[in-house]
Symmetry: C2
Subunit: 351 residues, 2 copies
């Protein structure tokens, strides 16, 4: 911070406004992530961003990326983009706000609101542009597995080479897979779970999520406190513990913990994780097939780095793995798109 002040550089804060989390980073090593259920409390967004900004150091300007416009409190993306931009501007209290677009440009807020389909869901592009600068030569892949979604972005010569820009295009071409290691409902991944020697069809209901599978498998640490960290994202609002995960997974086959042992819960969790890995492998093969040459590097990031490593192993890619968690530290890595926005804005001399 001091260095940049001495150089007279603007202090820029990157913001990534998602549907379930708000993230801020200064691009220099500071980052903070706060859970915020935007779809439940759209009116509270300005205040929540204000609290987030208050937790950060002083900033002269804001570089904004988002995905929260997809939250179902907004009837269209245009409405969501306008609401999020307005909330950020209100919380910014007069400081300039630059909005990152999916075509890689920063624009003023009026232009972003006028081009909502370019401003919508831009955080993957910010992260990909940042990741590209880590691999300036050859073909590479950014593999970002988050709480809710996964991005698979081809990189060539240090630049993102996406086949899709809007979310539906990105889903169709495999570059966005709407599955993650926390919020994904079990019934979206598997049609049945093993139980007492048979496969039991699962309830098509929001009873358990991938978080339960990964807590049971030991990939994600337990959070016993209610309303803290991952416990904010459970299907039933109960803590992210092994015991509660067992009960939630039991409920997907309409059982409870008395009828669904911990061993049975582990078997269920393995089935959920296997289905998610198979889905990701299918889409990754689609994306990799479009690269001119096999990737030399895969940059992994997000809360699901552990799953990204398993995916690379499964795909038998002979690549160098660059972990954003290792490169940036876990804290900054969790807010990697916000970090990327701040870095990109500083490189472009915005302020």
């Amino acid at each position: 911070m001091q260095t940049t002040d001495i150089l007279g550089t603007m202090r820029i804060l990157g913001l990534d406004i998602g549907g379930a989390n708000l993230k801020a980073a200064d691009g220099l090593g500071f980052a903070v992530t706060r859970p915020f259920a935007l779809w439940k409390d759209p009116q509270g967004l300005t205040a929540a961003i204000g609290q987030l900004l208050a937790a950060c150091g002083p900033a002269d300007a804001i570089a904004l990326t988002m995905t929260g416009e997809l939250a179902d409190c907004y009837s269209t993306k245009a409405e969501g983009v306008a609401a999020i931009v307005a909330a950020v501007c209100a919380a910014a209290e007069g400081r300039p706000v630059w909005v990152y677009l999916v075509d890689g440009r920063f624009v003023a807020t009026q232009e972003a609101v006028a081009e909502p389909l370019l401003a919508a869901a831009s955080n993957w592009r910010a992260l990909a542009a940042f990741a590209g600068s880590l691999v300036p030569q050859g073909a590479a892949l950014l593999l970002d597995i988050g709480s809710t979604t996964t991005d698979l972005i081809p990189l060539e010569g240090g630049q993102p080479r996406p086949a899709g820009l809007t979310d539906p295009e990105r889903l169709a071409c495999g570059e966005l897979v709407y599955t993650g290691v926390v919020r994904t409902p079990v019934c979206g991944l598997v049609g049945s779970l093993p139980w007492r020697g048979r496969r039991v069809p699962v309830a098509q209901e929001w009873f358990a999520t991938t978080l339960d599978a990964y807590v049971l498998l030991g990939d994600v640490a337990e959070e016993p406190a209610v309303g803290v960290g991952l416990s904010c994202h459970t299907a039933d609002g109960r803590p992210a513990t092994i015991a509660c995960a067992q009960a939630r997974l039991a409920r997907t086959i309409c059982a409870d913990s008395s009828m669904f042992t911990l061993e049975e819960a582990h078997a269920g969790a393995r089935a959920v994780s296997a289905a998610q890995l198979a889905l990701l492998a299918r889409q990754a093969r689609l994306v990799l097939s479009r690269l001119a040459e096999p990737p030399g590097v895969v940059i992994v990031s997000g809360q699901g780095e552990f799953l990204a490593r398993r995916l690379i192993e499964r795909l038998r890619l002979g690549v160098q793995i660059v972990s954003l968690a290792d490169t940036l530290g876990t804290n900054v890595s969790e807010a990697a798109a916000a970090h990327a926005a701040a870095v990109l804005a500083r490189r472009q001399g915005l302020g």
Copy 2:
């Protein structure tokens, strides 16, 4: 009501306490259904049942069935059964409460609380016992498609012949299919939707439900008022209208109404409905294969009677269809398990 009073018969009210709806019926033609999101407000259950009872005529005793114990506000079925029984007893203000068990017996509340796995999810059994009395001879099938779940119960000689009693057993043997015409998430039924000549993988998120598909297809009437009827059960809390259903279905491929025309929404709705019909057909074949002879009658009931008729057509069953909506009227049919509980209790001379 007057006739039974003259005969000195006890006036019995059947109650069916579900996770999303509370239903009451007197077994004589009166019935009422009220939406109540039990998992969101377990503390409010007694008051909600009290309001339901106040909307009914005077009753001397209550015959109770339930499925609400599965709601994720309860950590086990035992906790759920105990809480629901306690709430009903409190609202009953001293009148006797009889609890129907999955083995077909009515028991006092203490016994039900002591045998929670028999008291849990008993409403299918009450409905099947009632339906059986409509077809005293030969093989028949009860096909009840509700908002959230479907029951497929074999009947022989007027009696239910279930292969499973607990919910996990019933899921495993196909007699319970946890899919319905209102609340089922689209991502639980389809992996992708058609859009602009391709299949786009859907978001594994609670963005749209089967209600949206059936409103779009004209099978379910629109409900434009917020917080009324089916509008209580939409994924985003917005009304159950064609325009809002289009927006919700758009969101499942991360689009919005500006990128996903009404025609595209219809195509998506057809894909969702086709997937649900295929799932139901698979499980129905499983259940029918266990009957000693092909069914002569299928008794259809629930909000999804329209889908039940399509299923019978698809299965090419040469059967007589008996509609509970036609037999009882739509109002009583919607609360058919509560109606059944009242009828069964009266037949057994409970009070």
